[in-house]
Amino acid sequence: MNWDQLQLKPRIISAVQRAHLKSFREVLVFSEPDLQKMTGLSRPDVQELLHAAATACRTRQPITALQLQRGECRRLESGLRLGTGCPVLDQLLRGGLPVGGVTELAGESGAGKTQLGLQLCLSVQYPVEHGGLSAGALYICTEDPFPIRRLQQLISEQTSLRSDVPPSLIGRLRFSDNIYLEHAADLDSLQVCLSRRAALLLAQGRVRLVVVDSVAALFRCEFQPGDWLERNKQLLTVSSMVHHLSHEFTTPVVCINQVTDVFHQPESSSSSPSSSVSPALGLAWANQVTVRLMMRRLQVTVSRGDQSSALRRLEVVFAPHLARSSRDVAVWREGLRGVLDPVLAPFGPDVAQQEMVLPLPLGSV
């Protein structure tokens, strides 16, 4: 650490060096009287030192919200969103996932979380004007193996999902080349993966989406019920790493989470009041999440042509810029599509009506 950079009086610099203070950050962690004791400097000198260290630590000057809105600061909240590839879901999310912050996607198994994760890995590769971020994705699996065949199916059907994008552009994208897969069987390997592989890929600009599928798996089996404190510490460490990555590289991080049953309504019911399940990992994890989405299967099936799908509901549980709302979603060959009509009757006369409501892909019946 080059103290000369700070333009401080020589006596201050030598006192700081004598006290073995190695960085600006170290200085800021001590109180004024403690620093006085450590360096032997007078109060005004210590204040000058703290002031200089604070100025050096500050990454940027405060900017106004007006400047932010006008896009004058690319690094901060630029209003960019990562689209999901479906206009109905993008409308639910007011454009898509925010690029700064951690989005949690929770739900029971089979709800469709991995499906949405895969779809995001593809939508991120489109240019910004089509809701993407012009970069690839890093997908970190922690339990089930990566569904490579499903990914290939989604890739081959992109032209039918993304009817808003010219097919020539879709043809140019090398989707599978830009999806990096990692497997992390335990917490240590996840931490290594995040701090090295993820950081490198993000710094190189190859990737602008990180998906962790799933976080819950890592914490549940490794800890005994009594290790609650240790578990919380690890949760906070993982959270701090993903937040750091997200803010450092203006990248959305999606953490897929499982759910646990709820037997009584806790005071802090941050899950939907109507559900009997709640995202796993408790309040400590919930406090770390910027956007919480939940997916659940409904008892309704929809059909379209030769395909049928169980209907899901994607719900915004909380988000700083979104109201609590939900949309019904169907899972087709080409991916997830939001459904405009809320509740539908199962097979019957409504099916024909449903076929009209869904945005039909080009060329199909």
Binding site: L28, C57, R58, P62, I63, L68, Q69, E77, S270, P320
Partner: protein
């Protein structure tokens, strides 16, 4: 003037007499004797609690006049400080007008209950022009969680402008509306994003400079204090020390610079007599920092706000809701109440002057 102040005896400070007695007996005759100590040292030397030591040091450095003031004069002085409305009238009433300037207010609650929304609402409401009963002030928003979304601020600003334009009754208010627009509201919100506690501490060191450059600043929001500090889980004593230092700085900023400081805090689970309870995070020592604590929580599908700590107000619980327009009353009926300053409508305050500028 300075010399006279430095020789001021401890016994003349506006503190409790038992506290003053302990200080004097421990050898602190004059204010200068204890000025350069920090609260821990003072409490150890004088045999007083940390809270008392803090109080004593604040009184020593405040330099306020010690001539006796009447309760009426104190009330008038407090009036000048004004409050920042929340736009949820039951809550404003329970708070005695709104979030007070000159004090530290903390908003606690589970994730998603509306802490950031209330902070954004206050960031807009502090800017309401004086002719509508507001402060016409600026705001510094310190975001540590990434929850600040300009999109949402734009929604709230637009709704507030609309609300005030419906209330504009006379020429003065109409003129004020020309400078109370979404654009000017956005231009008066200064945003800083801090990624960890060191950046937060750095920002607060530079706060005084910022305040002196911007005399119109009336609100400082830190959303949240919990997030960066909860990530210090290895050295808890350091965390406590840092939080103490932080609380001193915030209280000093609020009182010395006449600003409202609003912090948000997470909830954490605690085991109290064998059943799990929710409590504000960061511990009991941090709990002494804010003068007022608001707890936001869910009850089935209702959102409730409770005042759980406040020297001047009764504990109260009100219902609120978060609409696309922002933080509002639970039953949203558009009743445009007159937003004139209280001094004009309050009949009993005939001795108070019109404080409109």
């Amino acid at each position: 003037m300075n010399a006279v102040r430095m020789r001021r005896p401890v016994s003349s400070l506006s503190l409790g007499s038992s506290l003053k007695g302990k200080l004097v007996r421990a050898g602190f005759q004059f204010v200068t004797d204890m000025q350069d100590l920090n609260p821990e040292h003072l409490s150890a030397e004088a045999g007083v609690s940390q809270q008392e030591a803090l109080e004593a040091l604040q009184a020593a450095s405040s330099g306020h006049t010690v001539a006796p003031v009447t309760a009426l004069e104190l009330l008038q002085k407090e009036e000048e400080f004004r409050n920042i409305v929340t736009f949820c009238s039951p809550l404003d009433e329970a708070l005695g007008g709104g979030v007070p300037v000159g004090k530290v207010t903390e908003i606690c609650g589970a994730p998603g209950v509306g802490k950031t929304q209330l902070c954004l609402q206050l960031a807009v409401d502090v800017q309401v022009p004086a002719v509508f009963g507001g402060l016409g002030g600026q705001v510094l928003f310190v975001d540590t969680e990434g929850g600040f979304q300009v999109q949402r601020l734009v929604d709230l600003a637009g709704a507030a402008v609309h609300h005030c334009s419906l209330l504009a009754e006379d020429e003065e208010q109409r003129v004020a509306m020309t400078t109370f627009t979404v654009e000017t509201i956005l231009s008066n919100v200064f945003l800083v994003r801090c990624r960890d506690y060191v950046e937060l501490l750095a920002e607060l060191h530079l706060l005084l400079d910022f305040l002196s450059d911007r005399p119109r600043l009336r609100l400082l929001v830190i959303d949240s204090v919990a997030f960066p500090f909860l990530h210090i889980h290895d050295d808890l004593s350091q965390r406590t020390r840092l939080l103490q230092g932080l609380s001193l700085r915030l209280i000093a900023a609020a009182t010395d610079h006449n600003i409202a400081v609003v912090t948000t805090n997470h909830m954490t689970t605690r085991l109290r007599s064998s059943h799990v309870q929710l409590a504000p995070a960061l511990g009991d020592l941090w709990g002494h920092a804010p003068s007022i604590r608001l707890l936001l929580r869910w009850e089935e599908s209702r959102r409730l706000a409770s005042i759980i700590k406040s020297p001047g107000h009764m504990d109260a619980t009100v219902q609120y809701q978060i609409t696309c327009q922002g933080f509002r009353d639970a039953d949203q009926s558009e009743r445009p109440q007159s937003k004139r300053p209280r001094t004009q409508t309050d009949q009993s305050a005939s001795s108070r002057e019109n404080t409109r500028t």
